[in-house]
Every structure is written in structure tokens, then in C-alpha cells.
């Protein structure tokens, strides 16, 4: 048992920390987010040159062959600087799905292009009615002979407007929320019948609503009707990734708030000398440590494919949502009037934490899944707990 990073992981961490230091001051970030699509194409090329885009891909496709700990390190450091480039959408989700389910030919064609920074992607799976239930899909996939046709609407597709290629989850069989009968398709974003309406999220990133009107996809990813089995682990990996991202943001936000309380004076003394405020900062420190502990737990369990992996992941996402609201709310409150302004980065960190809470399901949604798992009539969780114990 140990919680240390390897030498390589330390190098990744240090190089991202340097990048954030040099390119992600408050003013620099504002300028990045103001660009078309909400990120810097120049930064993206730099990510490619530094090898960061290759981290989760297998070595046979020029990847680094990294695991959950590597992704955690990277996303946590990104979180410290609120890095806006669409690593989650293009590399982890779009790339992750290709790697999990595409044919060798497609992988060989596309993954090296993701790694080199040429290709952007997005995963279109949510719809207006689905809320957090990712199997709730009405977008239809109909087959005539060997040709597929897609019709329907997707909502809040992260990086949906900048993406060159999309992976679309559509229903080829079954009822609206069934796990079976979902098929994943690779679709060219410029294909006929694809219409995109782009907008910004409160954290600065761009998303899109995308409609598909008799669209012919480029290829099927994975087996027909078995898309959920591909989506679920990729979304789970994304849950880990955004949780690491949240931890980085929480650490920075807590550090900023602490520094403010040590320097801001009222009644002739630093406000950090007031016990009422000290105890609140101990609470936010504790919340952040809880997230870190559950993140380490979930990442180690995912890495070892441990029986505790699912339970830990769900618990983590609950804690990320809960702690994010506590830490964010306290950061604004303790900064007083300044916390209400766009002149400090405080609000931007809080907005990022609020967005992360909703990604892949909020705290309440995950707590419901957690409760179903651990309170199941024949409690597999208890049995596995007893073994782990």
C-alpha cells in the first residue's frame, strides 16, 4: 500500500503545473475562454507536443498507455488552473469510446490524429428528457439493408461545436430507457443533416445541441445494440477524471480563500483571526480532504479492478458534489463583497465546481445509485465489504 506517484507521474504533474503557471493566470484564462469555441488551438498543439494527448491511449496507437492514476494527476493539475481545453470531451470520452469499441482500422486512422492534436471529437448521448439517465435515448437508428439512418436531438454535447467527429448514442431497438438496444455511431460533424446550435456554459466551455435529420453515419462503433456496455466504463472513467479536476479546483479555491482571510483586515485585525471563520475554513479543508481520500480510493480500486470500485466511484461523485457546494459557497462568503465580483477568479472556480456536480449525474443522483447498490436485498456490497474487511 502506498499513495505515492511514480517518477513519470511526478513529471506529468510538474510539467502541467509549469504550463498552468505560465499560461493560466486569471487574465490569460479570460483571454483563452474568449476565443472561438472557448479554448486555445495553440495550447492544444502544445498539449500534443508535450505528449499529454497520448496519455490514455495504448502504445500500439502511439499512445502512452497510461492508467487511472495518470489521468487523475493530469486532470487534477488542469483543475488547479481551470484549464479550458476540451481534454475530457476529445481525449477521454471520444477517444476513450474509439479505443474501447472501434475496429482496428478506425482506431489506426483516428487515434493517432487525436494524439497529434489534429482531430477534435465529442460524445453526443444526452437528450432533453434524459436528465442523468444516460440510457434514456429516443434518437433513432434505422437500418435499411446495410445502411443506417439517424434521426433525433442531442443536448448539452460538450465540445459539440468544435468537434470534427461525433460519437452518437442512438436507439436501434428496445424501449426508451433500456440498456440494451443502444448503438454507438461515428458521425462526421459536417455530414448532411447534422445541425449544431452552440452556446457557452457558465464555466466558459462550449457545448451544443445537435439535431440529426436523416443522417448517414460513417461507422458503427462496437456491436449493434450493445452500446451501453461501451459507454458505461468510459463514463465511469470520465467521472473519475472530473472528480480529480474538481479536487484541483477545490485545493486552489481553498488556498485562495485562506490567503484572503490571512491578509484582509477588519476591526483592525486579519479576519482569519476570528474563530467563527476559522472553524468554517477547517470544515472546507475537511471537505477537500474527504474528496482526496475518496478519489485515491476510487482510483486505486479502478486501477486494480477491485470489487470496491463501483461503490467507491459512486461515493466519490456524491462527495465531489457536496464538497464543491460547501467549498464554493464558503469561498464566496469569506471573500465578502469581492467574492461577488468577476474581478477575482473565485466565482470562476465555483462555477466550474457547479458544472462538475452536474456532469454524469449530480450528488443526489449518485447517492440514489449508491443506496441501491449497498442496500440491495441480497447485499453484495456487504459481502464484498466483509471480504475487504
Amino acid at each position: 500500500m502506498n499513495f505515492n506517484l511514480s517518477e513519470e507521474q511526478n513529471q506529468i504533474r510538474d510539467s502541467i503545473a509549469r504550463f498552468v503557471q505560465e499560461h493560466y493566470s486569471f487574465e490569460q484564462r479570460n483571454a483563452v475562454v474568449a476565443q472561438e469555441h472557448g479554448f486555445s488551438a495553440q495550447h492544444w498543439q502544445q498539449f500534443a507536443e508535450l505528449g499529454w494527448l497520448s496519455i490514455p491511449f495504448a502504445e500500439e496507437f502511439d499512445g502512452f498507455g497510461g492508467g487511472p492514476v495518470d489521468t487523475m494527476v493530469l486532470m487534477q493539475e488542469f483543475g488547479r488552473g481551470l484549464v479550458a481545453e476540451p481534454y475530457l470531451a476529445t481525449v477521454l470520452m471520444f477517444g476513450g469510446l474509439l479505443q474501447a469499441g472501434a475496429t482496428e482500422a478506425i482506431k489506426t486512422e483516428y487515434i493517432p490524429r487525436i494524439i497529434s492534436g489534429e482531430l477534435h471529437g465529442a460524445f453526443a448521448y444526452l437528450e432533453r428528457q434524459s436528465r442523468y439517465v444516460m440510457t434514456d435515448i429516443t434518437t433513432s437508428a434505422k437500418k435499411t439493408g446495410s445502411d443506417w439512418v439517424l434521426n433525433g436531438q442531442k443536448s448539452v454535447v460538450l465540445n459539440g461545436a468544435a468537434a470534427d467527429k461525433l460519437i452518437v448514442a442512438a436507439r436501434s431497438a428496445g424501449e426508451q430507457a433500456d440498456e440494451s438496444g443502444i448503438t454507438l455511431f461515428l458521425v462526421d460533424a459536417a455530414a448532411e443533416g447534422v445541425e449544431r446550435t452552440a452556446y457557452r456554459m457558465t464555466d466558459g466551455q462550449e457545448a451544443a445541441n445537435i439535431s440529426f435529420n436523416n443522417v448517414t453515419p460513417e461507422a458503427v462503433i462496437g456491436n449493434e445494440g450493445e452500446g451501453y456496455a461501451l459507454m458505461a466504463p468510459v463514463v465511469d472513467a470520465a467521472r473519475l477524471a472530473v472528480s480529480a479536476n474538481a479536487l484541483g479546483a477545490m485545493e486552489t479555491l481553498n488556498a485562495q480563500t485562506l490567503e484572503y482571510c490571512k491578509t484582509r483586515e477588519q476591526f483592525g485585525v486579519a479576519i482569519g483571526s476570528f474563530q467563527a471563520l476559522q472553524h468554517r475554513m477547517v470544515d472546507t479543508f475537511g471537505a477537500c480532504e474527504n474528496v482526496k481520500s475518496l478519489l485515491y480510493r476510487a482510483v486505486c480500486a479502478a486501477q486494480d479492478n477491485d470489487e470496491d470500485a463501483r461503490r467507491s466511484l459512486l461515493a466519490l461523485k456524491v462527495m465531489v458534489g457536496r464538497a464543491g457546494k460547501l467549498i464554493g459557497g464558503e469561498a464566496i462568503q469569506l471573500h465578502g463583497g469581492m467574492g461577488m465580483t468577476d474581478e477575482l477568479s473565485v466565482g470562476f472556480f465555483v462555477k466550474r465546481l457547479m458544472i462538475i456536480n452536474t456532469l454524469f449525474g449530480d450528488a443526489d443522483y449518485h447517492q440514489k445509485l449508491f443506496a441501491e447498490l449497498v442496500n440491495a436485498p441480497v447485499s453484495a456490497a456487504d459481502a464484498s465489504n466483509a471480504v475487504a474487511a
Binding site: 506517484l5 476559522q278 475537511g286 443506496a371 442496500n375 447485499s379 474487511a389
Partner: protein, 392 residues
Amino acid sequence: MHTRLSEEDLAFQAEVRAFLNEAWTEELAETCANKTTMKEGVEEWQRRLYKKGWMAPHWPVEHGGTDWTVTQSFIYNLERASAGAPEAVPFGVTMVASVIIGYGNDEQKAKFLPRILKSEDWWCQGYSEPGAGSDLAALKTRADLEGDEYVINGSKIWTTYAQHADWIFCLVRTDNSGRKQEGITFLLIDMKTPGVTVRPIDTIDNFHHLNEVHFDNVRVPVENRIGEEGKGWTYAKSLLVQERLSIAEVADSKRSLTQLREQARAEVNGGESLLQDPLFAKRLTDIEIDLMALEYTELRALASIAEGKEPGPESSLLKLQGTEIQQAIQELRMDVAAYYSGTLQGDLSAAELGHDYADNAQKSYFRGRASSIYGGSNEVQKNITAKYVLGL
């Protein structure tokens, strides 16, 4: 970064399970649970631990400890709690022993440590006073040197199990001239010395574990002083850090939570198991998620210690969060027991009462209120974390 158990760890886990299976019997558990036989039960359990060589796993091997790795200690503790076996009473083997080992002289080690290992002496802790609670350094119990004896006058309070104790370790004041933390001396006092009286304090959990201990011209030989006169605060502080780590009781809370889930599953409201009630499920899983986090906070601290580093700042949270979780479990169990939680079992059997854990549900709720008060109240823990971790 990984938390896999090695082959050696798995073999060790099997050995611990086999030992517990044999040594922690149902009969012994009953003896320990009954308040009239608690002391003999606990001593018997500790003797079985001693026979196995596991009475004081954290001591240096030369004094009768083990060479367990941090992971092994963690495994032992999880298995012990999971079997429902208690920890050894901490006042001797954990608390005073670590001060004797760290700061005592060879005669003191030879005199006291073997008797602690064999459970021949029962110890209690004399820190708090009527006028010195959270502000422990304000303590006033006087020790005046007369020849080769200290003469002690004053009172200690909240002394757990003083009624069973053979010895008490005390912080006493030998000097009033400097800062209040200076002039405190660490003394070992035989409870049978003339002038020592114990007054029981009945508590809200219908139990007698707390006492007030009075010292009226009690004469204590100088050889019972640990280390130097006036350095007692330093010795006591080293112990407080250890106490903070052990009060978290993560492994015991895991077992309590597992039991609580099964108790709730068996309770039925209008045909539906309490476990299916979303409001109840929310409360139960709130606790479980906090506990899962704390378990890894503890592991992180242990992993640091294993590498010879100081535990990280996160360890300051262990006492605070650990006791909050304990109290949340106790509260929820009281709620699960419903109206039965208000019953007093007395001499009735569980079958006669009609309920097998209700008697303990409310008592343990009330007993558990103490955990956010002792070992430095949780508010004091927050002050300490704010000062030493956050730098405020």
C-alpha cells in the same frame, strides 16, 4: 499508488482471522458486555492477546511488541473490529506505556511494562480537573517536593474506570512561576496510597465509568516521576497526537454501520423495510460515504507514518470526523430501534424485553456524546487545525 494487499499481508489476515475465531468467543463477548463482569472479561481477553503476543503490537519488540508493518496493524484492527472484539483498554498499554517507553528510565520500564503486558495493573488517566477541561494546561493539582517524596493535593475529574484502577498517571503542577505549560510534571501514582479517594460520577448513559479522584496529602516517591520535573506537558502532548489517531475508531464504525444496515432491513413500516425508505437511506448513506472517505484519510496517514514521515495535515481531521461519524451512527441506531430505544432492559433478557439491541441503542447514543468532548473537544480540535494546519 495502490492499495493491494501482498501475499504476506493475505497470510497475516488469515492468521488474524484464525486467532479471533478461536480466542474471541461468544461467551467472552457476553462477559465483556455485562457491566458487573466487564473488568474480568476485558482482562481475560487481554490475557489471550498477551499469550498470542499481540497485547501491545505497537510497542518496540524488545519490550514485548511486534514488528508489524503499518498495513498489518491496519489489517489486524479491521479484523478485530469486524469480529466485534474490543481494543485493549488504552490507558495502560497505549497511553501511559508510550510515555514510559519514550521518556521513562530503565527501572520504570522494567517495573511497569511487563505488568501492563500481562494485565496485572489497570491504569487510569489523571489529566482533566474541575477547573481545567479544554484548557488542560490550567491544571492546579499541586505536587510539593519534601525530601524524596512529592506531596499531592488537588482533584482530577472525568477519570474513566478509576474505580477499577491500580495506578493513575497524572499531570501535576510543580511550579507556578512561568507559562502555564511549564511547571507541569508527569507522575505515576499508586491508587492504594493513603489520601487517594474516588467519588463515582453517574452519567446520562445509566452507567458508571466516570469518577472524580481526590488527593489529600498523598505522598508519592520521586522515583515515580517520568523524565524531568516541569517537562510533563511535552510528554503529555506526544500522547495526545496518538490519542487523536486512535479515537477515530474507523474499523469499529464500519462494523457498527454494517450491523445498523441489517437492523434497519429487519424493521418494517407498513410492509416496507426501513432500508427502502428514501429518507432513511439518505441518512444511512450520508454516514457510509463519510466513513469511506475517513477510512482512506486514515490509510493516508498510516502510509506516511510507514515511510517514516510525519502524518500529513489530514490526520488532524481524524478525531473530529471519526467522532462525528460515531455519533451519527449512534443517533441513527436509536431511531431504528423506534419506541424500544426508550426501554430499560434491567434484568430482563432480550427475549423478555422483545428486542435485542434497543437497551443499548439509547445508552450508546448518550455515552457517545462524550466522544466529541474527550481527547480535546471537537471545537478545540478545530482551533488546533486552524492554527497548526491552516496557519491562522
